[in-house]
């Protein structure tokens, strides 16, 4: 059960981070100019093209991924790794 929570937290946080940065980054490129997250302006400073993906969505996904990582850390404080898991981790550290 504990192992499932660990795996779910790592998978969810990584998925959210990569979705916000890489997946939506690709979508933004495919959507055309501007390829970045800032709008394109003309010489008068008027906005002539908006990015395909609102930066708030991308930053929100990344921060959500980091929040999942943080919540998992808090969970690990509340429910420390079992003896077997800790011994495995210690054995791994000793081989380094």
């Amino acid at each position: 059960m504990t192992d499932m929570i660990d795996k779910a937290a790592m998978a969810l946080s990584s998925t959210l981070l990569l979705a916000g940065i890489v997946v939506l980054g690709v979508v933004e490129i495919l959507d055309g100019v501007p390829y970045g997250a800032a709008p394109t302006t003309n010489e008068a400073g008027e906005v002539i093209a908006q990015p395909g993906i609102d930066p708030a969505i991308r930053t929100g996904l990344v921060l959500a991924g980091l929040a999942v990582l943080g919540l998992w850390g808090l969970y690990r404080v509340a429910v420390p790794a079992t003896g077997v898991e800790r011994r495995t981790a210690d054995a791994t550290a000793e081989t380094q």
């Binding site: 916000g20 800032a38 930066p55 930053t59 990344v62 921060l63 420390p80 791994t92």
Partner: protein, 174 residues
Amino acid sequence: MAYDVSNPLDGEFDLGRAGPFAPVWIATLRVVVGWWFFHAGVTKLIESGLNFTAGPGYLQGMSGTVLGPVAVWMATTMPGVIEAIVPLAETLIGLALIAGALVRLASFGGAIFMAFFWVGNAEFGHGVVNGDLMGLLLFVTLLVLGAGRYYGLDAVFERLELVENHPRLKHLLG
């Protein structure tokens, strides 16, 4: 340990194959990141003490971003605290990372700072993946790796009787 023979990418992971330079590099990275924040904080302290008035204004300017509600709330309810905590926390986070003391706690604080810098700075003129995001990820990396254990004081702290008797303290160290 996760090991799934049906997935060639899913092996047993450890840092042993990273080579002997890895701990030195992690410690070096920690000190450099620490200097970055120490310099940012201590120069604010020198110039404006605990009255860094740009802090609340910066947070007010984050209105409309994904962290806007939190930022504006902090700026309006506790401007004096923000003015003091920004230079002080930056300096202390920097010192903690340089010394390798309470690195996970300090890195968590640094990540919070960088989240506000990333979301609030320059309207992503250099894209969403910019230097501020890399700084944020550096702090998370130091936190995940427990970078204070490599040539840092956390390695000493973890052997103290207090920490041995209260193992949960280890979550703030390393």
